[in-house]
């Protein structure tokens, strides 16, 4: 390599971040426009544009694009960004590529809350004013996710330190307990409730609407900012906990911040959309494969790619079985997991 080329290297490395994030942002914008353009109702792209720019358009097209597709697409971005970035932050925290939001009990606790409302909803609803009805399930799922994460963190704590191994084990135990309690509820549920539970565990962005966006977005936003601010600390943590401590990273505080942020983001996402598998665990890997381990790229990259992936998956879910619809969790795992396997195999062959 010539001296001139060597001199060029640092600027290239510095360029990686804007190039990666700009590219992912472009993909996201494309996916967003596509999500608004496709659906069960055949609306020509020109008509979609007229609706979006507030020009004269058919009132039904307007209702479909602005009333149905737009809130759904925005919800996909919020949920996808929350799930993707939480996955990336937790994988960084645990320095374990298998870590996903399910691991520390968030999804298990959220699922338990949701299933409890599906099975006992009529009992809860009787105790509350009517207006609370539609918010009961998201609220229970959100609180369930937070409670499970909090319990995991408390259990793992000993003398002011939460050992990573203990966190994982406590997460497994909490998940098992949530699973068992859910089993009891499923056992008690009737045919209809069973089908509602099944559909909820496969996720859907259909129910949320603008109220879902309003419920989830503040939590996801706060969490995303908190996690992004932890990017450098997570980079230091890659060297090891002790090393990070010597570098001046408040490791215990970092753990708490990342876990609370992930619980907020994932809890709010699961609350409005049900369980959407695969995004939290695989999206960070895809970003890391392309951009390396730098958390200042991986974290925002996972948010962007997670949002893109959910937009694409939701678009597919909406158009493959028209006039019916597939659960989105089914699409993400059905298409996502073989694709991920293929990527892994390719990388193995290359190495």
């Amino acid at each position: 390599m010539s001296d001139a080329a060597r001199a060029l290297l640092p600027p290239l490395r510095l360029l990686r971040r804007p190039v990666m994030l700009g590219g992912l942002g472009g993909l996201l914008a494309l996916a967003f426009v596509a999500a608004l353009a496709v659906g069960a109702m055949p609306i020509p792209p020109g008509e979609v544009l007229r609706v979006l720019f507030g020009l004269d358009a058919d009132s039904q097209s307007r209702a479909v694009v602005l009333g149905l597709r737009l809130p759904r697409a925005v919800l996909a971005v919020v949920v996808g960004a929350g799930l993707g970035m939480s996955g990336a932050a937790l994988q960084g925290l645990f320095r374990n590529p298998l870590a996903d939001p399910g691991l520390i009990g968030i999804s298990g606790g959220a699922a338990l809350g949701a299933v409890a409302v599906i099975v006992f909803g009529h009992v809860f609803a009787a105790l509350m004013p009517m207006v609370a009805g539609p918010y009961l399930l998201p609220l229970a799922a959100f609180l369930g996710g937070l409670a499970a994460t909090f319990a995991t963190e408390r259990i793992a704590h000993s003398r002011g330190v939460a050992a990573t191994g203990m966190l994982l084990l406590a997460g497994i135990a909490i998940n098992a307990m949530a699973g068992a309690a859910m089993g009891v509820l499923i056992f008690m549920s009737d045919d209809r409730q069973l089908r509602d539970i099944t559909f909820w565990t496969m996720g859907s962005l259909a129910r949320g609407g603008w109220s879902g966006v309003l419920m989830a977005a503040p939590f996801v936003l706060v969490a995303v900012i908190a996690m992004y601010r932890a990017a450098r600390a997570l980079d230091a943590l890659l060297l090891g906990e002790r090393e990070a401590l010597h570098l001046g990273v408040p490791v215990e505080r970092l753990k708490r911040i990342v876990m609370v942020a992930a619980a907020l983001a994932v809890g709010a996402s699961v609350a409005v959309s049900g369980i959407i598998a695969f995004v939290g665990i695989v999206v960070p890997h895809l970003v890391r494969m392309a951009a390396g381990p730098d958390h200042r790229i991986v974290l925002p990259g996972a948010a962007l790619l997670g949002a893109t992936l959910l937009l694409v998956a939701d678009s597919i879910a909406r158009i493959v079985v028209v006039p019916a619809e597939l659960p989105i969790g089914l699409v993400t795992s059905l298409i996502g997991s073989p694709f991920f396997l293929w990527l892994l195999m390719r990388r193995k062959a290359g190495a």
Binding site: L68, M188, D191, R195, S204, G209, P323
Partner: protein, 296 residues
Amino acid sequence: MRFLAFILVFGVAVFGASANADAPKRVLALGGAVTETVYALGAGDTLIGVDQTSVYPAALTRRLPNVGYVRALAAEGLLSLKADLVLAGPEAGPPEALAQAASAGLRIVHLEDGYSTEAAIGRIAAIGAALDRKREADALIAALNDDLALVKREVAAAKSRPRVLFLLQAGGGAPKAAGRATAADAMIALAGGVNAVTGFDGYKPLSPEAGVAAAPEILVMMKQSVDALGGEEAVYALPELAGTPAIRNRRLVVVDALYGLGFGPRMAHAAHDLAVSFHPEAKFPPLPARPWMSAE
């Protein structure tokens, strides 16, 4: 020949137009009993879409666009069929999807819940009104009331009041028994049986002891449940029911879910069939044949 055909087509078109000028022409039915009712009212040809629970008449529902499972509908899917009327059965949902579709301009008529002949007849009247087929609905309701009265008389004349247990097998868990406030409970009563399980509302898992305590003489199950368990022999081998009279005497009655529990226009015949199997000694004559009973 061609002229004749022209007259025929033209005549039908004119007649059809004059009969119900404002009647909905593109109807989406959500719910098996709703679809059956639309068909029974002679409006089957106005159907442009159904849901997954609409399986009768099969020749009609199989060729129509299907909007999926009735409790997991998609707003844009509903809109895309360009229906001028959506008849939403009590089970149609989620409510958010229906509300979104309605706010985008879809006309949705919601039908009242309820497992009783009165509620079912109320739904038929509501569907008749929505379809602008009041006359047909009145005729259907009159025939249905006649048939139901006939079943009532038959059952009153029968001496026995067998204890009947309705079992539901959903998923892999223990079979669930139908308590009060269920479609099965209402059908058992219509057919002159006594529900063997009255301690709770809805469906609850049945333990072996509770099964023995219920001491059913007759066991009723949906065909889907029997298939899920692996056939009638598997039902007779259920530990939850070992030693009960129903098992000893091998009295399992298998019903079709929509026909037997749908509370649609075929409910009188379903109750009659059930009464026949509850009271084999009584030798009930068949109910009058009705046109909506004989679809493919």
